[in-house]
């Protein structure tokens, strides 16, 4: 479903070349909940940006839902992002002067849905994250956890196949982080494939699958054996 084969990404300045990804190989199957961990600068976010079609890559092949995305133009990439991918960011990225309803509405506007369809989807997704009664609130009137839930609602409104999350709990306290994680697990249970970049090993253990990135390569991949399961075994 998401398949990267020998993907390369190099960042260049006048003086330095930085190889962010080197022969990056990964396949994420439908319904997966993949946690991507690794040290800072290992290439986790670069991988996520390429997976989300926010950045291009130099070599290798990337197939999303069986479609080679290497040579798509801006419009096609934007359409693919809009229809198939949802994003969750560490800093929520809600637009400050739009209320929750309008924030969730943003991706739907580019989808071309009519007003009634948009309203239905917005209300459903806000209901799912428990913010149906806050849809007229501005982001500044919500807690961090609520803002992240609103961002998740925005990502879900378009009913994407993929949810790409970059440190989704990085700005939240433990209680809120767990609540967001539970929400992600529920979303995954409904069939949405989730790829989550995180520094938090405990969070990563909650995913179905865990991969480790080092020096721009996947160095480890497989079923995660949580500490709890290991002890019981």
């Amino acid at each position: 479903m998401l398949k990267m084969t020998d993907v390369k990404k190099v960042f260049r300045t006048e003086l330095v070349e930085t190889h962010a990804l080197r022969d990056f190989n990964l396949q994420v199957n439908e319904g997966d909940f993949v946690a991507v961990t690794g040290p800072s600068g290992s290439g986790k976010t670069t991988f996520l940006n390429i997976a989300g079609l926010l950045e291009t890559f130099e070599g290798g092949q990337y197939e999303l839902d069986g479609q080679d995305v290497s040579n798509l133009n801006d419009k096609a990439r934007s359409q693919l992002r809009n229809e198939k991918i949802g994003f969750i960011f560490q800093s929520f990225n809600l637009i400050p002067d739009l209320n929750l309803f309008d924030n969730v509405d943003v991706p739907l506007r580019y989808r071309g849905f009519n007003s009634a369809e948009r309203k239905k989807r917005i209300e459903e997704s806000l209901e799912m994250v428990g913010l149906a009664n806050r849809m007229k609130h501005l982001p500044s009137q919500l807690s961090g956890g609520q803002q992240q839930r609103a961002a998740i609602a925005r990502a879900l409104a378009g009913q994407p196949r993929f949810l790409l999350a970059d440190e989704p709990t990085g700005n939240l306290d433990t209680k809120m982080a767990l609540s967001v994680l539970e929400l992600l697990k529920t979303i995954n249970d409904f069939g949405t494939t989730i790829v989550m970049v995180t520094h938090d090993q405990h969070l990563a253990e909650q995913a179905k699958r865990n991969i480790y990135v080092r020096d721009g390569k996947v160095s480890e991949s497989g079923e995660v054996v949580s500490l709890e399961n290991a002890v019981n075994a």
């Binding site: 992002r81 378009g158 970059d166």
Partner: protein
């Protein structure tokens, strides 16, 4: 989507009120200055009689010196002599035609409490009134018989009628001008010509005259010359009549020629006339007669003054400077929106979507600037009125065309100014913005 973009534009303008106000003010200043000067130029160069300007022709005959042209490079004088004016009028060949001259004289009202005053006088033939669609409040112009019989009849302006007769119907009453009693046969309605095309030699934007009387009275009453009198050789003899018969030019002539054939026929007539005069020892230069329609004549006479045009170009430069400032402010504004732009890209907006969204915002700022600029232009024109007084009364005023032009200019200018900042905004790398917020 347009309504959505419009809503986003208003939100964005409200989000940064000071920055938005600065941009709107910058555009408004540029538009205000430009529209003030454009309006003056536009009104100066307006067609004063659009429905027949192509049928009215100003007559020029080259009766000038054999040694040099009246005007470089080889232009005939812009007026004609008394001899030519009267000769051409005696051989009337055009559909309508009039020779004319400006003069002035003292009007002596009858009332004990009214003081005599100086009035501007236009001497013309009876065709003057129908040719130039002169509007009448009371009565009418005189007829050809009055021209020939040199009757003491007068048409007076509305202002003169108000001043001398208290605004009532004065047709049939007597008005004393230059020491003679004239019978009033017509009172003009308000007649504002901008430019006053029928005689631009005495100022294209002067008001129409206060009293009109038959042309030949110039000779009978020995009325003074108004406007410019130019001579290439001295009069042969002394006194008023000798001066009248000289080669000095002080008279204007217009002909109404409805068709091209009429024009060609009249030009043939002029050429034949000059050839006859050559045989009599006049017209030493090559045949060089001209017929110019109203707008051609305005151009030849450079009715739109050079300094007004320079002012207009300077104001365009000022608009450019204002737009450059707006570009800087838009860059700052859109840079501040980088994270929102990144987010919109991430959730599916293409570069084109964002380009249109920001162009709509720029256009809104432009229209707001245009509306404020119109207010400034109005103030600017009022300022010109205050500064220059009655001389420019007819030149300053915003009509519908100018209001629409101002808004279009503001819209196009702001969109042009917004192109680069918008392009930059749309090319922001979304990944860097989303991580760095």
């Amino acid at each position: 989507m347009f309504a959505y973009y419009l809503r986003l534009a208003f939100k964005s303008i409200k989000r940064n009120p000071i920055l938005s106000a600065l941009m709107i003010t910058a555009i408004a200043l540029g538009i205000g200055a430009s529209m003030t000067t454009i309006t003056v130029n536009y009104l100066m160069s307006a067609n004063p009689i659009p429905h027949k300007s192509e049928q009215l022709f100003y007559v020029q005959l080259d009766s000038w010196s054999p040694h040099e042209p009246a005007n470089e490079p080889n232009e005939p004088p812009d007026q004609i002599t008394w001899t030519d004016a009267t000769n051409l009028m005696q051989n009337k060949t055009a559909f309508r035609q009039t020779a004319m001259a400006s003069s002035g004289g003292v009007v002596e009202p009858e009332g004990q409490d009214q003081k005599p005053f100086m009035a501007s006088i236009r001497l013309a033939f009876s065709d003057f009134f129908p040719m130039f669609d002169v509007p009448f409040l009371y009565g009418s112009g005189w007829n050809a018989e009055s021209d020939d019989k040199r009757e003491l009849v007068a048409v007076i302006s509305k202002a003169t009628n108000d001043k001398v007769f208290g605004g009532g119907n004065s047709v049939g009453k007597t008005i004393r001008v230059v020491g003679e009693n004239f019978r009033v046969i017509g009172v003009l309605d308000e007649w504002v010509l901008a430019p006053r095309f029928y005689d631009v030699t005495t100022g294209a934007f002067n008001e129409t005259e206060e009293i009109f009387m038959p042309f030949y009275l110039k000779q009978d009453l020995e009325l003074t010359n108004g406007g410019n009198t130019n001579c290439w050789k001295s009069p042969e003899g002394e006194g008023f009549q000798a001066f009248l018969q000289s080669e000095c030019v002080n008279y204007q002539m217009w002909a109404e020629l409805p068709t091209d054939a009429d024009k060609a026929e009249f030009m043939d007539f002029l050429n034949s006339y000059v050839m006859e005069q050559k045989a009599l020892g006049r017209f030493p230069r090559e045949l060089n007669n001209r017929l110019s329609d109203v707008m051609e004549w305005m151009e030849i006479e450079e009715v739109v003054a050079d300094d007004a045009q320079i002012m207009m170009w300077l104001s365009f430069m000022f608009l450019l400077v204002c737009l450059l400032n707006t570009i800087g402010l838009l860059l700052a504004k859109f840079t501040g929106k980088a994270s929102e732009i990144g987010l919109r890209r991430a959730v599916g907006a293409s570069r084109t979507d964002l380009f249109i969204q920001h162009l709509v915002e720029t256009a809104c700022i432009g229209i707001a600037g245009g509306l404020l600029g119109l207010g400034l232009a109005f103030l600017g024109l009022e300022g010109i009125k205050t500064l220059y007084g009655e001389f420019v009364q007819n030149l300053v005023g915003l009509d519908v065309t100018m209001v629409i032009s101002a808004l279009l200019l503001a819209l196009v200018s702001s969109i042009l100014a917004g192109m680069y900042p918008t392009w930059r905004a749309c090319n922001i790398a979304p990944a860097s913005q989303l991580k760095s917020q």
